[in-house]
Each structure stands twice: as structure tokens, then as C-alpha cells.
Amino acid sequence: MADSTHLLNSKQMALFVAEGYLRFDELVPDDLNRAVKAEMDNQAIPREEAGSPLSAIWPDAAVGRVFRLPEIEGIIHSLVGPDPLYDHHAVHTVAAGHHFGQHWHADAIIDTRLHFDIQFMYFAHDTPREMGGTLILPGSHYRRISESDIARYHNFVGQVPMICKAGTVIVLHHGMWHCAQPNRTDEMRYMFKLRLNPTVRQLRLWNTEDIDDPEVSHILSTNQPWHGNEERIEHVNRIHFWRFLTGDDQFDNHYWLSRIENEPELV
């Protein structure tokens, strides 16, 4: 059970709804980063059975301790609840001197749910730009595409390469577009990915004390530079998602849904 002091707040949840990810720099302590790096070097992190309770896996491994940190448990609880399932993990590597970027993709397949999975990306060592970092596209999580359908795209205004210090963690909505980047150093580059499924209705699982903070509306209205003419359609998707997360079917932001839901029958 997550410590309530480490739950996300409503402004962070709004940012997740708007951008599809949250970033936590240098969250994992250095000794644990080094221990996980050694486990990855030694290929010592076993693949578990999909659908297993997260609480039951990696009881002794350093990587298990990472996902039992109170801060990480608070993130997990806020997004997918107290008892999520392990979907899969991957130790992603980019070999030294690999000079091509991976094609843009989203994981899995087209997913039409409002219920959502999360994916952690954990960077156990420093990741400067010359080492790549995973490239992510904020605000891409509502796009209905199947895996590598988007491989023709190369660059977006607003794309974000994960340039970070050891111990940095990002948590993504399952729909986020991303790709590995070239590694121009002489060392292997790692990124540890873990996908989790919820087992409870994802309803107000975070610390909602600030649910009425005006900043929530402002965050939900933030545009991405690559959305162009579809900015307003993106806002509609965010409003639907916020309604799902809060259980407030009347929630609106800047009147976008109130206007198109107004169908008076009074004669």
C-alpha cells in the first residue's frame, strides 16, 4: 500500500492527461542505480509471467527494490491503483556506436480504452544526448495507431529526448509515441521499461485535495506545438479522460463539450 504522502496531486494528474507522461529526475538513489545496472549487465532480471501481481515479482532483485520505493509506489497507486499486474518488462539497449535512430512507434496495438496501462522508463545511468535517450512525443497518447504505423515520421516540433542523470524515471500512458536514439558513445546504453495493468477502476486514486485548483484547468489547456489544427480535438479527448478519472460527467474545460452536448428539447 502506497504511503499517501507520495501520491500524485491533481496538477500532476492533469499534466499526465495533457502530455501523457510525468518525469521524475534522479528519483532512484545511486546505490540502487548501480545495482540495477549490474543486473542488466549480467542479464539477471528474469522475465515474469504476464498478469502476475507486481507485488509478487523480483522479491530479491535490486530492480524490485526500485519499484518498491515509496515514491514509485505512490506514482503507481495514483495511476493504476494499489495492486497492479506485471504486463512485461524489457531491458532496452542501444549498442555503442549505433548511429541510427529507431523508428517512431507506440507499444502494443490500437487500444480504444479509457482505462489505461502505464509504462515506466527507468534510466539507471547518466544519459547525455550523445548516448541517445529515448525520444518521446508529449501529447501523442490519444492517437489511435498500431505500433509502427508512424515509422515514416522523423522529427516533430516539441519532441523530447530523455537527457537525464542516473536514477531518472518517467511514467507514460501506454499510447505514447517514442523511439530509441543513436548512441554515439563507446558504452552500451540501457533503458529499463516496465508495463503495468490496473486491477481497479482508475477513479480518483491520487491525492485529490487540490482537485479544484484553477491550475488544473490551465494545465489541461496547454497545447503541444505539433498538434496544429487538431489542438481543439485534443482538448476534447483530455476532457473525456478527466471525466473518466474524476467520475465527474459534467466536467468541462473552456466550454468545449458543453457547447456540443447542448441539445435542448424544450418546445
Partner: protein, 101 residues
């Protein structure tokens, strides 16, 4: 007869207007060597910033690029009016370059 090769530039715009700003782009270079290619993120500098090679399709046309494909526009199928997916305003441009035989 000079030997020519095709270069493709794919620009994605804010709106269908060919003067509209570029929000994404790709390059495919038929003059490049077999071990060279444009790939994801190749415009990102060390700070992560990205700058499109042109500000619009018309800006690229002024530099000699020829538009070879326009995006078709269709109304949304009923039930998909608020779905988002691919980038809608995709223009494909080409240049033909003379290469040493």
C-alpha cells in the same frame, strides 16, 4: 546523359494551407550512400530543440522543392469525429539531383 537521383522531403503542416507552419518532417535521400540515412530525431540538437528545415511548403518551393503529393481531405466517418491519429496535412516534395556516375 547525367545520372539523377531523387530526394524526398515530407512536411506536415498546422493546416492544409501551403503557407502554414511545419509541425513535423522527414527526409529520404536517394543520393545518400547505403550506410547513410535520415532517422528519427536526427534534427534534435544537444538541448533537444528541433528546427524544421523550412517554415512552410511554400518556403521549401522557393528553394527548388517540387510538390508531388497533396493530402486528400475526407470528412470524419460517423463516430470518429473526435478521434486523433496520423498527422493529417502531409505534403511530399522532391528534388532531383545530378550525381556522379
Amino acid at each position: 546523359m547525367p545520372d539523377t537521383r531523387q530526394k524526398l522531403l515530407v512536411l506536415y503542416l498546422r493546416t492544409p494551407d501551403l503557407h502554414a507552419g511545419v509541425v513535423a518532417w522527414s527526409e529520404f535521400d536517394g543520393t545518400s550512400a547505403a550506410d547513410e540515412r535520415h532517422t528519427s530525431g536526427d534534427a534534435a540538437d544537444s538541448g533537444g530543440a528541433t528546427n524544421p528545415p523550412y517554415t512552410s511548403v511554400v518556403d521549401a518551393m522557393r528553394d527548388g522543392w517540387r510538390v508531388v503529393q497533396f493530402p486528400q481531405q475526407y470528412p470524419a466517418y460517423p463516430g470518429t469525429e473526435y478521434q486523433v491519429s496520423y498527422l493529417k496535412y502531409e505534403y511530399i516534395l522532391e528534388k532531383m539531383e545530378v550525381v556522379d556516375g
